[in-house]
Amino acid sequence: MQSVTRTSVVAATCLLAAAFIAVPVFSQQAAQSGRRIGSTQRIAVGDAIKGGDMNISTGSTDFAGEWVVYDEEERELGNFTGIPHSEAGRMRAETHDASEWSIPEFQCRPHPLLAQWRASGAVRIRKDVDPVNRSVTAYRVTFIRGLDDRVIYLDGRPHPSEYAPHTWYGFSTGTFKGNTLIITTTHLKEGYFDWNGNSVSDKAKVTEWWVRHGNFLTVTLMHEDPIYLSEPFMQSISYLLDTHTEVEYFPCTVITEITSGRFPHHLPGKNPYLREYAEDNGIPYEAARGGAETMYPDFRLKIRAAGRTE
């Protein structure tokens, strides 16, 4: 009888031990199998907390709130320093006429995505939450001079068809890498990334890195454009959390500003204002015209050498 009892206890202990070992194994399998539902990747909630590569956010950093721009920068007409223009991008910028803002279709045009972040003002960021598992499925961004919502999907959905409409903010999806939200945007309309003629084609792609340090939000933008840039162009900007700010309504009314029926632009080589910035700031015109090489330190040496020769 005793031996039977002993045997039973040993067997029960073994089973219990096996169960303890097995539970994490099964849990792991469940988590792994949870990564694929349908054609898009999903992950178990626990994975998001650990960080690493993932296709759905569970909010390892919270970006929701009202933010005000902390630093800003505007470029003057003719200041293309440090911009990796392609030949096409330079031609587009140099033939730009700011009067194009007066055509009816552009008077209320919002700043396109790349320009919007760098425009002065405030931004509201809200969360969409899955009512079942409470994960963050999207961020919605409202810029003061923009459209109501720029949606950044975090639910693993693919980008739409090439035939789908393009928008001023494009179509954005995001994934968390650690505490950084990495956003990819395609389907942008042809627009601009600065007010002085620097243009964005409808084939551009933008990658954003959102990082939060306490009450600071830093957005780093990598802008790739096979048409108007010869190399990727990086910019960053910081915002400060402001709990006393509300993003205001931004009305816009179109009025008749042009009656001639023409579209304002400069013919190639005929823009009379391009040299003003270089002359006013004592910068060689060649440097002010931009191009990839003006982004790198070596360009200073080249310009200095050219100056000595002259």
């Binding site: 919002p110 393009h166 309309k189």
Partner: protein, 366 residues
Amino acid sequence: MRMKRDRLTRGGCAVALTLIAGVCTLDRLAARQATAPGIQVLPVQGNVYLLAGAGGNISISTGYDGTLLVDAGRAEMSEAVLDNLEQLATLVQMPFFPLAPCVGPRCPGGAGTGAYTGGGSWTSQAVNGTVHSPGSLKPLRYIINTSDDSEHTGGNASIRATGMTFTGGNVARGAGGEGVGAEVWAHEAVLSRMVGEKVDIERHPQMTYDTPKYKWNGFFNGEGIELIHAAASTDGDTMVYFRYSDVISTGDILALDRYPAIHVDRGGSIQGTVDALNRVLDMAVAQNKSQGGTYIVPGHGRIADIGDVANYRNMVIRVRDRIQESIKNGQSLPQVKAARPTLDFDGMYGSPDAFIEAVYRSLSVR
């Protein structure tokens, strides 16, 4: 769209299985029902869908009154177009329920978001019967050609043959008239050119208009339709305006993936192109800040809105002005081409040679 039973059953079953499998939104399904490589069907707005990848873009209105197409794509793509049309028409004309993410008395959100409202469930034999054998589709009744270009009219003959025109019993057999195929519409200039160029008669329009604007003789799928004449790409261009859906199908007046194809020897002109694009801008209303609202289906390329049309019109004007300046300075066509007046747009719109030549010729004629 021939109502062949086998095709219908195949399409219906495929659709039903897909839906039952859980991919339940019409939009998403429509976008993924391509049966030929490269063909995509996307919802545009209201009654209107885009079928892309069969040559020129095809706009589709399908529903209560049947199916109406704006353009017919290339001839060799007709079978694929018909397959996709039948799948789309089945989805739109023969919807079955529950198309809801949650069915039951305690679904979040209540009625309209999936709550059980009675009147049908998966346990009903009638519903199951309908799912597995949907009724006959309404016929393809009209094709409207936006020009005589074969990218848009190539499929006229074969696609038209699968449709039906309700002529009235005194003209053809049956109460509504049947068996004569769908009716092809175009501007008068399209028919004249096809006759002149001895194009196969099966590709010809049977009905034409020769006024600046033609109002469809009644609602089709619940909305008025207008045909608006333009002389942009050719002298027989037509824009189709779906008034309730608020969609304009422009044909080759707008093509977001290429420069305008201006056929000067067929009555097209640069000024006609600018005028037509301005007309689209006049008709279109943005939902908010030059985005959304009226949607535009171009002859080629993606679905557009007023912001895209403005960008395209601006490009056309820039290039026109540059070439005009060159002509004023006495430059020849080779000199103009060598000056690369489209350099800043070639990456978006492709090879500019034909466009530069057409603009040069068009401006020189004046």
